[in-house]
């Protein structure tokens, strides 16, 4: 199965199906994950999109897709996927469309929609066992409007609406667990900077039926405040520090696909981002840094037993 196709980075496709010319920011971690994903899914797909940065992928008359696309609204992309999926099934059933014209239905939303406004429509789509793939590009804030905090924003991050000395007071919502609690066939976290792990998961997901949900951690140079060239490095640091666990939920179990043996201190990850700069200057905020570290440690302690 999937493990066989992508054994090493050498096996990754280099088709580069998603073409350039989009208005996404230079160094966009979400676009990076998307193009890696698209190479695996292929062009027999219809992306059903919710309001977010990626809405601007297709601006009349320009589209980077070699397959299809439908923009819906912020809250209801999974419902749009429902309509498309059902219609395709009906057409095939009625022999009004040859099966080879079928498309894989892929929802594409940011964390604003996934963690918040669209959570109810996603939950319901899982309830209905809709056969679809959901990709959330998680850049931990409302990126398209200038990075205000969302339910995906991590504790203490400075955003356009949490500018105080302690940053965002809340904690990043555990969407993975919320999704997994619905017991769908597949849930996984990925990041573009770990392309092999990503490829294996996307392939596994596309071989399954029913609701399959992916959260793609998406370093955002503009919203997080770092040089675009560090985009991949920050993704890697998120994994190495244990801030972004790579895992999957399948057959009722959560499996960590990459356990960082010796975790890099979270501050290595934090200090390269403008949104956490207030933790280091003008004065080091030991309390907040320790709190963030302690939460990461507690998570992994539980994982490692």
């Amino acid at each position: 199965m999937s493990e066989e196709t992508f054994k090493s980075v050498k096996d990754l496709p280099s088709t580069r199906l998603l073409c350039g010319g989009t208005p996404m920011c230079s160094g966009c971690g979400a676009l990076e994950a998307l193009h890696e994903i698209y190479d695996i899914l292929g062009k027999k797909t219809v992306f059903v999109n919710a309001a977010g940065c990626m809405t601007l992928l297709s601006i009349y008359p320009f589209t980077p897709f070699r397959g299809s696309w439908l923009y819906t609204a912020m809250a209801s992309a999974p419902a749009g996927a429902q309509g498309v999926r059902d219609a395709l099934d009906i057409l095939i059933e009625k022999k009004q469309m040859p099966p080879e014209d079928d498309l894989q239905v892929v929802v594409l939303t940011g964390d604003g929609a996934a963690y918040g406004m669209g959570l109810s429509s996603t939950s319901a789509a899982i309830d209905r066992e809709l056969d679809f793939l959901y990709i959330c590009y998680d850049n931990e804030g409302y990126g398209n409007t200038g990075q205000q905090f969302s339910a995906a924003t991590p504790h203490a991050a400075k955003t356009a609406t949490s500018k105080g000395p302690r940053g965002y007071p809340g904690y990043k919502k555990d969407l993975f667990s919320i999704w997994a609690a619905h017991k769908p066939p597949y849930v996984a976290t990925v990041v573009g900077s770990e392309p092999l792990d990503l490829a294996k998961k996307i392939e596994k997901a596309s071989e399954l039926k029913g609701p399959r949900l992916i959260i793609a951690f998406s370093p955002c140079p503009t919203g997080w405040g770092f040089d675009p060239k560090l985009s991949v490095e920050i993704g890697k640091l998120a994994v190495k520090s244990g801030v972004w666990p790579l895992k999957e939920y399948i057959d009722g179990k959560v499996i960590h696909t990459k356990i960082p043996r010796k975790r890099v201190p979270v501050e290595e990850y934090l200090k390269v981002q403008g949104r956490f700069s207030h933790l280091f200057s003008p004065k080091r905020n030991e309390e907040l840094i320790s709190e963030i570290q302690a939460r990461v440690d507690a998570y992994w302690k539980e994982v490692e037993g």
């Binding site: 208005p23 675009p228 060239k229 991949v232």
Partner: protein, 309 residues
């Protein structure tokens, strides 16, 4: 009325420049409008901002069609039609380009009858990060109109930039005042423009929009990969260059990591960069295992190209 347009790239401080100049005019007792113009484009993409200032109430709105002064913060934008730098310029327009290339050369290149000025990027040859600041550009505009005093310029910079910290204020003040001095010989060369006259006006070519059925008139693209026509390579300020001697044809990490799908792998297993679409994020440079990719300033890379042709 003064009508001033600032062209730059997302992230270069055009909005800041327009706000500083707007505030400075306001402090001088002018009625003012200042605004940035956003598209879908992001950091590195061409954007513009504008300022109107008049002693009378301002009833014009929106984009400035006939600017009295155009300031280009990044000379790579001049040749880019999408940036619209030359839109609506007349022989009465003054064009100021932040560039190391001489004004006369620009005047020739543009075949422009009006006045072209240049100013060397502040901090040129020093810290790269400080290459462009809103303050410097606002300072240039202030002096060229001759309607803004040094004191108002300083006050405006403080007012607009204080939330960004004293370091930013000081840097911008330094740059702004140095450019303000540098422009002294051209003081007042930008004259206030007049309003569009009723007499002899060009009537709009209104049409009766014909009905077209949804096959044509729905907001749908019946094609694939059309965004290829958008040359996002124009956003780039630094160009990644592959040294094929050093490239070990790894597993094409550069190609996998490139968010723009701008690096393909050729038949021999070497990566090739599509400069028409590469936005210059330089992820490839930082991720290349044998360090075979280096960054070259676009300006210098372009110069090299010119010499070759």
């Amino acid at each position: 009325m003064y009508r001033i347009r600032f062209h730059g790239r997302g992230g270069q401080g055009m909005k800041t420049a327009s706000r500083i100049l707007g505030t400075a005019f306001f402090l001088e007792g002018f009625e003012v409008q200042d605004a940035p113009r956003y598209g879908a484009e992001r950091r590195g993409a061409p954007i513009f901002a504008y300022v109107r200032a008049s002693k009378e109430a301002i009833n014009e709105r929106g984009i400035i069609k006939e600017p009295g002064l155009v300031i280009v913060a990044d000379d790579t934008l001049v040749a880019m039609p999408a940036a619209g730098v030359l839109q609506g310029v007349t022989e009465d327009t003054v064009i100021l380009i932040v560039s190391v290339i001489e004004a006369e050369l620009w005047k020739d290149r543009l075949n422009f009858p009006g006045r072209v000025l240049t100013v060397i990027p502040p901090g040129e040859g020093q810290s790269h990060e400080r290459a462009f600041t809103g303050g410097a550009i606002a300072g240039a505009a202030a002096r060229l109109t001759g309607a803004v005093s040094k004191a108002s310029l300083e006050e405006a910079i403080r007012e607009e930039l204080i939330p960004l910290g004293t370091k930013v204020v000081e840097e911008n003040l330094e740059d702004a005042l140095s450019v303000y001095e540098f422009m002294a010989e051209h003081e007042g060369c930008v004259a206030p423009g007049t309003a569009i006259a009723v007499e002899g006006f060009t009537p709009p070519n209104w049409v009766e929009l014909p009905f077209e059925d949804a096959r044509l008139s729905s907001p749908a693209i019946h094609a694939e990969a059309t965004s290829e026509q958008i040359k996002t390579g124009l956003w780039r300020t630094v160009r990644p260059v592959i040294d094929y001697e050093l490239c070990n044809r790894c597993s094409w990490l550069c190609s996998t990591f490139c968010p723009e799908s701008a690096i393909s792998v050729n038949e021999d297993g070497f990566p090739e960069i599509d400069y028409e679409h590469c936005k210059g994020c330089m992820i490839c440079m930082t991720q290349c295992p044998p360090h075979a990719i280096s960054g070259v300033l676009e300006r210098e890379a372009k110069g090299g190209e010119d010499n070759e042709t």
